[in-house]
Amino acid sequence: MIKARINDLPVEVPEGTTILEAARQVQVCIPTLCKHKDLLSTAACGICIVRNKGGGKMIRACCTPLENDMEISTHDRDIVEVRRSTLELILSNHPQACLTCGRNGECELQSLAADFNIDQETIKRYVRDTPPDTSTDSIVIDFVKCIKCGRCIQVCQEMQNVWALSFLERGINTRMAPAGDITLAESPCVKCGQCSAHCPTGAIVEKDEAPTVWQALYDPEKICVVQIAPSVRVTVGEAFGLPPGTNLTRKLYSALRRLGFKAVFDTNFSADVTIVEEASEFIERFAHKRGELPLITSCCPSWTDFMEKRHWDFIDNFSTAKSPQQMLGALAKTYYAQKLGIDPAKLYMVSIMPCTAKKYELSRTEEMYASGFKDVDVVLTTRELARMLKQSGIDFLALPDAEPDSILGDYTGAGTIFGATGGVMEAAVRTAYFYATGKKMEKVELEAVRGLQGVKEGELNINGAKVRVAVAHGLANVEQVLDRVREARKTGAELPYHFIEVMACPGGCIGGGGQPYGVDNERRRLRAAGLYQDDRDRSLRCSHENPEVVKVYEEFLGKPLGHKAHELLHTRYTARPLYKR
């Protein structure tokens, strides 16, 4: 343990703790614009400077470990003065168009400037004019707002191993840019949006589809329907000041109706459908030896994009089941429309997702038009939804609870945990076990695949056969799992896993790139806990038990993996070039 003093307060922390972290223990907040809890320090902004024993030298609190007998001062006159100058310098290189910025009110730079009450520009502004990158349907990069903190690059390169973003050039010309100076769409970007979730300013934001949705809602010719993803219910509250993990499912149903949606569906329902298909697929491959093992989950569009670009040797291992979002879209414009006698051409499906890549998934392949129309018309992230709710004057937190629209709305505990890493695996195992044994699992919780460890492994016994599963989240963790499989393939050894779940974002969808800002592991844990609570609260906890799911198969789809199911609920993958230019 290290013993030292910070602002004359004694602190004791484990060796290796940075001054920044140690200071928090004695209720001292040292500001920073570049250090993010998820990431290693880049030491880029120069805001977190402190002094040791009043020395002339100022050191960075974010990357300097506390040492024995240090006497750190964090806010003396000189430090604050230098900090203010540095902040003014950063502002002099920033457009300061706060009122017309996607991060207005939620920007770290803005709030620091407010704290320092910077009320005039003392340094002449210099911003190099650069047009924004709007090449993808998911993410908009407004280069001029970038403060070069390096978070997005670290996220993209280290956390996600995608390498779509990088720094180019140097000095005052240093800029963050898509790999090799091309557009984001031409780069290896998988649209996970983690860059936007970690950006301290408005330099990287989701592509705002709210205007499109408003337009649709105002259009009398359109029948707008909506679906909400599993994780959104436990995160949207953060935008309204509630603690992470607060489950607002029923308030969301009600709010969406007030916004003008004619029907409110729950993606949890189609998550249950996904599980029915995927568990059947697994049994097919595992028990009947028809198809490649391990089976790999495919409901994360960033992951499928990543696989198609980087790991296409696993195409045959991919579950062909579509993601819940797309399944619900396809079912709404066929089954639901038929049943209610609505012209599917008029149905307009909006989905509320935690994710920027879902915006890309809409038109990923021709299978996304399985209903004969665009199955899902537009995606809003949690952040966009929160803004729309605020715009519409709905007192969200005070709303009465409501229920979803039937036939595509009921869900089980298995559907809801889709939103957390390991959830798909856990849900699939519950159903696969039943399919293989005809019996219900005694304990449906699969603790081994829960939690925030990068790669989680588990083993269970189905009918005497051992099933080994692996769960990876954060794309950088994928490689080690796949490499073990590759190694086994090469040597002909026994497969290390039979079933693999991958989610691109750390924590799974609850840590998605479109979720409310300020994500860190603490929040991820709380958000996941909200979902697991929802699971426990449901009377039905296995997807195949969902009465509406049973009904849709009986009335419309036929058998899992059957002809109709295949047509509507499954997709294909192709190897894609990493760089389009």
Binding site: Q157, L165, S166, F167, L168, A179, G180, D181, S187, Y579
Partner: protein
């Protein structure tokens, strides 16, 4: 109409031989004419053109394949030379830059594949170090040393003279891609300041009045085959 017909095939459709032998612009002109004459392009002609286009595409593909494989072999040689070295990226880039005078994009892509290093990392490095260039070099390189000694002895005057004579500023290349003007930080000839380097040859203690002569000598080399 007073103007004479400009093309012998004006009143008849071109034969396959004629088609095969004309360039794109003429071909497009012919198609326009046929469209005017018939209201559509006759099927035999359009099929013949498709066939010709296909042939040309294949030829271009072959050429590209050839280029690609040359690039690949090239890059492989460099990579093989440095394969046992950690942190070899910069040294390989030096080898590529020496060979081409810059780092062509296709080569960088190939290097990324061969080395298993993301293109993002390669571009990060190339754009960070001023020694590496992404644009092909001009035929001649005129470099003004702006080290301290040269600066103090009037390198800016030399630079201004070059700027006005060449009509470009530093870091730019003349429109005909003949001369590239650059400024460097100290070539280490402080004893001979101010200095110019033209295509690797150093000129020391240069006067502004001599700049014209030096440029002329560059042009003279140009005149020689």
């Amino acid at each position: 109409m007073t103007s004479a017909p400009t093309h012998p095939v004006d009143d008849r459709d071109p034969t396959p031989v004629e088609l095969a032998n004309c360039d794109e612009a003429t071909l497009l002109g012919m198609l326009d004419k046929m469209e005017q004459r018939h209201g559509f392009v006759p099927r035999e002609i359009s099929e013949e053109i498709s066939r010709l286009v296909q042939l040309r595409l294949e030829r271009i593909e072959r050429i590209r394949g050839k280029l690609d494989s040359t690039i690949r072999r090239d890059v492989q040689t460099h990579v093989a030379h440095w394969s046992n070295e950690e942190g070899n990226l910069i040294m390989i880039l030096h080898a590529i830059q020496n060979q081409h005078g810059y780092v062509p994009r296709e080569v960088a892509m190939e290097l990324s594949r061969e080395l298993g290093v993301p293109l993002a990392r390669i571009y990060e490095v190339i754009t960070f170090y001023h020694y590496f260039k992404l644009q092909p070099p001009a035929k001649h390189n005129v470099v003004v040393c702006n080290g301290t000694a040269c600066y103090l002895k009037g390198s800016l005057e030399l630079l201004n003279e070059l700027r006005s004579r060449l009509g470009i500023s530093e870091g730019q290349t003349t429109a005909d891609r003949h001369i590239h003007l650059d400024v460097v930080r100290c070539i280490g000839c402080c004893g001979m300041s101010p200095a110019l380097v033209v295509d690797g040859k150093t000129y020391g203690r240069v006067k502004t009045s001599e700049v014209g002569g030096i440029l002329d000598s560059v042009k003279k080399q140009e005149a020689k085959p």
